[in-house]
Amino acid sequence: MNMKMNANVWSLNEGELRTPQMNHIIMMALFIGVGVVVGTFGSLAVPLGFVSAFWPGQAIQSVGCIWFGMWGGIASIVFPLISNAIAGSASIAVSLAYAPGNFLQGIMAGWAFRFFKCDPRLTSGKDWAVFTVFGVILCNAIGAAWGVTVLRMFGMISPSSTITVFFGWSIGNSVPSFILGAILLKFVSPLIVKSKSFCKKYWA
């Protein structure tokens, strides 16, 4: 029964046609706004310059891509550009260099939930496992690896501190990411999956 419900979240009903609508764009814009606030708060709460060590914005990226597919992916790129600039945690050049990492950091969970047909409401052990592995651990590792590479490229961290910064970044971000991400999926997903903005595929 549980498996059936999991599959139903992503599968199209008979005759159901889904195309990108204005609604998706508006939800993405509003979601970027949410991300800007959460991201700016995270950057100002633990200010380490261009290095990120406690950034709840990552949860917004993962959850956004699970709910809104590629629209969440676009939001994952755009809101850090704004929140980094407002919080002064990275310049426009560094933020642009972070963009592919931010996209991967978000879309990883979106892809995994669709591929493994998991329920965004976290109804089974499998859903929790996929969220923890792909939406928290792997995506933060990828984001941290990309971020550290960018910082090395711009000479912002010492070469020998690369590994330490990578682990600090990835583990530090995983904590708020897991807590906020789990709360969002568990309590807000039931509303989102019933809404027009929810994307069963990547764009609609």
Binding site: P20, Q21, M22, N23, I25, I26, M27, M28, A29, L30, F31, I32, G33, V34, V36, V37, V38, S43, L44, V46, P47, L48, G49, F50, V51, V78, F79, I82, N84, A85, I86, A87, G88, S89, A90, S91, I92, A93, V94, F154, G155, M156, I157, S158, P159, S160, S161, T164, V165, I179, L180, I183, L184, F187, V188, L191, I192, S195, K196, S197
Partner: protein, 287 residues
């Protein structure tokens, strides 16, 4: 004092500045270009003293634009923590190089000349970039950003999304304020809460706030539909915001100077290795 009270102030994204700020004689495109160029210049400069001079120049721009420097107070922890973190990474992880020279000791650890120089370079860049970024958002409103992007012929959908995103950040904070007031009206005492409860409470705020955003997305998309906007074809419409701004000769001159400045810095850096650390006065002092 009376004059100060009567002064008309305008709320930007991060600060309050007088309407008659001299910066507003420039077109939003010029201001956006200043933000982009100043966001790149320090990255090409490996001389800390030049980057610190750049930071001072940005502070002078704050004064010129009549932005109260007190608005920078909230960034003080960022400025201090970023400095401490940068120096600690270079002190604790200096790397190995036979050419390093010990210039002192801290916490029983040797301080090497080159890692300290690299820390100064990194921190001076962070400081210069941070101030230039804060400057832009302290002096520009969401409307100025939109005007700049629409002047640059950004597609309607993209500029609309950006405008709505910035506005929705404000709406999100207003909703948060409403939720907190409702909790207080029901007798919740924040001061009496334990730290863990506060963390839990703050995480839970996201639930009503996202639900409100979801409802709002339906309302906004319906409103746009009624007004005849669609994803692919919004038609050509008069843009009221753009009629409020005019690109003057001063804008042309300032834009040309800014672009030229960036190109000259890049040219001299890569052609003649100007702005490299070995030309730095600090490097000489450390040796």
């Amino acid at each position: 004092m009376e004059g100060a009270q009567n002064k008309k102030m305008m709320k930007t994204l991060l600060a309050l500045i007088p309407v008659e700020s001299p910066l507003y004689s420039f077109h939003p495109v010029s201001r956006l270009l200043l933000f982009v160029i100043t966001g790149f210049i320090p990255l090409f400069i490996n001389m800390p003293e030049l980057n610190f001079m750049f930071a001072v120049l940005v502070l002078l721009l704050f004064i010129y634009s009549k932005v109260a420097l007190s608005s920078l107070k909230m960034y003080l922890p960022v400025i201090i923590c970023a400095g401490i973190f940068t120096f600690l990474t270079f002190i604790f992880f200096p790397g190995k190089d036979p050419n390093y020279q010990v210039i002192g000791h801290i916490f029983g650890l040797p301080l090497y000349d080159q890692p300290i120089m690299n820390a100064c370079i990194a921190y001076s860049k962070i400081l210069a970039l941070l101030l230039s970024s804060i400057f832009y958002f302290s002096t520009n409103r969401e409307r100025d950003i939109l005007a700049a992007l629409r002047t640059l012929k950004m597609p309607f959908v993209a500029s609309y999304v950006l405008g709505l995103s910035l506005r929705s950040a404000g709406m999100f904070l207003e909703d948060l304020h409403t939720v907190r007031e409702a909790e207080q009206a029901r007798g919740l005492d924040y001061a009496a809460l334990k730290f863990t409860d506060k963390v839990k409470l703050y995480s839970m705020y996201i639930i009503p706030l996202l639900s409100l955003a979801l409802r709002r997305s339906d309302e906004i998309s319906n409103a746009l539909y009624v007004k005849g906007y669609s994803m692919k074809n919004s038609g050509k419409r008069a843009d009221y915001i753009l009629t409020k701004y005019h690109f003057s000769a001063a804008d042309v001159v300032s834009c040309v100077i800014l672009v030229l400045l960036l190109f000259l810095i890049i040219y001299f850096k890569y052609r003649y290795q100007w702005f490299d650390a070995n030309h730095s006065l600090l490097q000489t002092l450390l040796k």
